[in-house]
Symmetry: C2
Subunit: 437 residues, 2 copies
């Protein structure tokens, strides 16, 4: 038997050679067991970033991540199980709407989510803005709740793909995050660790996303699809626009309020459009619905309150205050100061820097730079204009929700600079750029 | 003032961009101060390995290494100071002969050396095979001894280029050693940290060296020369053959015995040829001698005992037993078992795997795999044939000097396999492949 030599694996990837499945598996296992030092793993990650990983290596890495922890079977669920993953974006509250909407359509969603890091928000942080809401469900609680009401959103425990968690922290420290195969392995390992009948991927493209162009986003989508195929998991991927924030809210309580607005059909905009599109795709894929019928059913569930009712049940099941579904403003924490950011000139909005807004919201306290920083659920930004809108001078571009006047003032310039105005009319960008499967 | 961001430096090198002098200096300073984690430095090293460093970056790295520690001025030395560096090889005992030879020719050599690692030997380990020999000279002791007898060979203290020491350990762990700019910065920082009027580089090319081809060795030589030029340091570089071990001995006491053989003109072979060539180059460069005259003077110093006398004085000055110069066998530690390795067939030696022999000697106890392993000064290998020699079946190819019969037996196969025999006559390879300056 050949002995495994971590440095030899690093050297082969360094030289652009292909590393065998067994060596990748052994490397990840030894790293997770603490037998490979962080610096050796960091050297491997940088070599993989620069030299790339082929489909076989990416699959082997994904499998090694999955087998580093436990998996969740969900055997008792009879409805079609749909999992959904959006690659990190700004103002992205898809999960909070999608899960109850899909449940209201007869599907089941058992979603494990993460917390926010850097300029992107995290679903778990958003849910925890609801007073009383629990996200640390055990696998058994998760399964029971999904069986009963069709949806649950819980924090991904440390026992699911722990190798990915440890390597992600290392990638974050060593400038090796934005690698398509490394991202694909990270995303898909989390999807493969829990049973589903369909994985829906929402891959963001644009200034606010890791993938800056639709081409790069499509490449990431293809890498993910290839992994799913090899594992026999059904998958569909949409490339969606993140050249501006998806929803109007960037924050945590603010995001919940926006989700409730969409679930109760008070808001119709980009967030509703993406969620409807994803729900319709799920219905056509796992419930045999026609495309138009699926879209109609999804819209109806939002319009007639069925989706909102599932949301209320989900919140209640997880210990949260269900009145959030009726009157978010009365239940959610509210920022001390709400400060309008007035436009200095007039014109058509031609660009909105989503990443800059994400950073400004994080600076207000809505996000965290380090994994263990506390956040303030009440603060954030609510946009009043998007690409294509005509704004007049002194008209508000956004509202800053801040803990105090100083913080609000500090955010104002960053928010204003995130908007670019143009004299000529600008067409809003298409939202769903394409589907891959 | 721009704040320094280590991860940003890593990202720029990752993307193949040029990192500015100030950022390289700040990175090395922060790493040496423990403010940059090993994994971040490892990611930088891998990016630098794959993307390369240009001449400016290599020079900035070298300067950062030098300024991480103290430098040695040697202001009181009036004779021309010649420093010599051989890039790691097998059976390479050049320093032990060169330093006293140069001193006997009116030059001064203040040499800081290292210990062996992996399959290559280290000068300090060899010297310490001489009973009583001290190598931990202070800078003052070094200068005094060189002023008095013209030569000293001491261990490089931890206060000289400490950044290089720490980064070298990291490179060794992360498969990032064999990078020409990283090697050049490492070699030249040690040369620049101590005053000299001429740096002579002996860059090895071949199976037993880091640089496997003469072209790669020349590239390393050019990178080193460029650094020396930028710092106003005179330099000459020879590319010499390491397609087989340089000398006949691979060990520590065995190397000292071979050095004494060359110094007393009992041995004339490849080791003597390289040392004579380097000494003559030094004489022509810093003492204005003509080429032929220089070569004649160097040969005479070996033949008439002048060089041997300096060696005796150096050993005595550093506390060692000076009788080693007259009768090495009586003074040096001797292995318990000497075991001949007989040739199985007959033919002309067409290849000798220097790296394999280095590993076999290390396995016998002559070298170390980890920095702090003890070594056995008595053991090693003495070769009885080199490329071009005709050997008959059952004639010894080498003698294995081992601690016991088991170790000797274990080494025998490796030593035998290191020799390739050919039916046709083979010309020995040229020793000095070229000079660069």
């Amino acid at each position: 038997m050949r002995t495994f030599d971590a440095r030899d694996v690093v050297a082969r990837k360094r030289d652009g050679e292909t590393v065998g499945d067994g060596d990748i598996e052994a490397f990840v296992r030894a790293f997770t067991a603490g037998e490979i030092a962080d610096e050796v793993a960091a050297a491997f990650l940088m070599a993989a970033y620069i030299r790339g990983l082929n489909a076989g290596e990416t699959l082997a890495l994904t499998r090694a991540y999955v087998s580093s922890g436990r998996t969740i079977g969900l055997r008792s669920i009879e409805r079609p199980l749909v999992d959904k993953h959006s690659t990190g974006g700004v103002g992205d509250t898809v999960t909070l709407v999608f899960a109850p909407l899909a449940a209201s359509l007869g599907l089941a969603v058992a979603k494990l989510s993460g917390r926010g890091l850097g300029h992107t928000g995290g679903t778990i942080d958003k849910l925890e803005a609801i007073p009383g809401m629990r996200t640390d469900l055990s696998a058994e609680e998760l399964e029971r709740q999904v069986g009963r009401i069709g949806c649950a959103v819980a924090a991904q425990g440390a026992d699911i793909v722990p190798a990915d968690g440890r390597l992600y922290a290392l990638r974050d420290a060593t400038a090796t995050v934005a690698s398509i195969p490394l991202i694909a392995a990270s995303v898909m390992s989390k999807k493969l660790a829990i049973t589903s009948d369909l994985v829906l991927l929402d891959v963001k493209a644009g200034s606010g996303a890791f993938m800056k162009t639709p081409e790069a986003a499509a490449e990431l989508a293809r890498a993910c699809i290839e992994i799913a195929r090899a594992e026999g998991r059904a998958v569909r991927a949409a490339v969606t626009d993140m050249s501006q924030p998806l929803g109007r809210a960037i924050g945590n309580a603010l995001d919940v309020a926006e989700a409730v607005d969409v679930l109760s059909a008070r808001a119709s905009g980009r967030l509703r459009e993406v969620v409807e599109t994803l729900a319709a795709a799920a219905l056509t894929s796992v419930a045999g619905a026609g495309e138009e019928e699926a879209r109609t059913r999804a819209a109806r569930s939002l319009d007639d309150g069925a989706a909102l009712e599932r949301f209320r049940e989900m919140v209640e099941a997880q210990g949260g205050d269900p009145r959030v579904a009726d009157d978010p403003g009365a239940v959610l924490p509210v920022a001390a100061v709400v400060h309008p950011v007035a436009s200095e000139g007039s014109g058509y909005v031609s660009a909105v820097d989503a990443e800059a807004l994400g950073r400004a919201a994080a600076a207000l306290g809505a996000g965290r730079r380090r994994k263990d920083e506390p956040i303030d659920p009440s603060v954030g930004i609510v946009l009043r204009a998007g690409i294509g809108d005509l704004v007049e001078a002194r008209q508000p571009l956004a509202l800053v929700h801040a803990a105090d006047a100083d913080a609000a003032r500090a955010a104002t310039d960053a928010v204003r600079s995130a908007f670019t105005l143009s004299g000529a009319a600008v067409a809003p960008p298409p939202l769903v750029l394409g589907w891959l499967e």
